[in-house]
Subunit: 112 residues, 2 copies
Amino acid sequence: MGIDDSVTAGHLQELRRGTVVLAALAALRTPGYGYALLESLTTAGIHVDANTLYPLLRRLEKQGLLTSEWNTDEPRPRKFYRTSPDGEQLVATLTAEWHRLDDSLRNLTEEI
Amino acid sequence: MGIDDSVTAGHLQELRRGTVVLAALAALRTPGYGYALLESLTTAGIHVDANTLYPLLRRLEKQGLLTSEWNTDEPRPRKFYRTSPDGEQLVATLTAEWHRLDDSLRNLTEEI
């Protein structure tokens, strides 16, 4: 009996997935490389793997929420991301929604 | 300029999606019909449509997180759901993860 581990893992992943965009855009208000972002998100407690994060960064750039520059000062050029003004606006919108969801969930989970 | 409305809507939906399982399992600790749950989630501020919620309830039942009974007292039988002991356990796990994510996101979004 008890819950199948893969069921629990799936639901945990679903809960976490929605937070990655907000976390990445908020973190990249301090500009950084993809790899450094991956480390700072992990340190902050937002678990995401490189195979999810790197395509997400390209998608956010395409949507105008991040800008990027190539740093060519080093032998191996690396892409440097920062949150755009539109991205800042989305951080504000998603943060407000997060707080609203947090109120709703705290009410629902503490009700009984 | 500015963000495309559909981009904002997509990211908002992604943020909300992850909360529906926790909200539904928490709410169904007070047993109820699908339709009543839809209304109580909306009242609580968790927006989900019937086309998403009803298949989700069947999936959660299949995973052993909800139990159901048919109420045949009325002319049209209706399915009555309640959160199972396994579902209660998942509510506890997801609530702890939610609080953890909330701490992480508050740190990231308030940092600057």
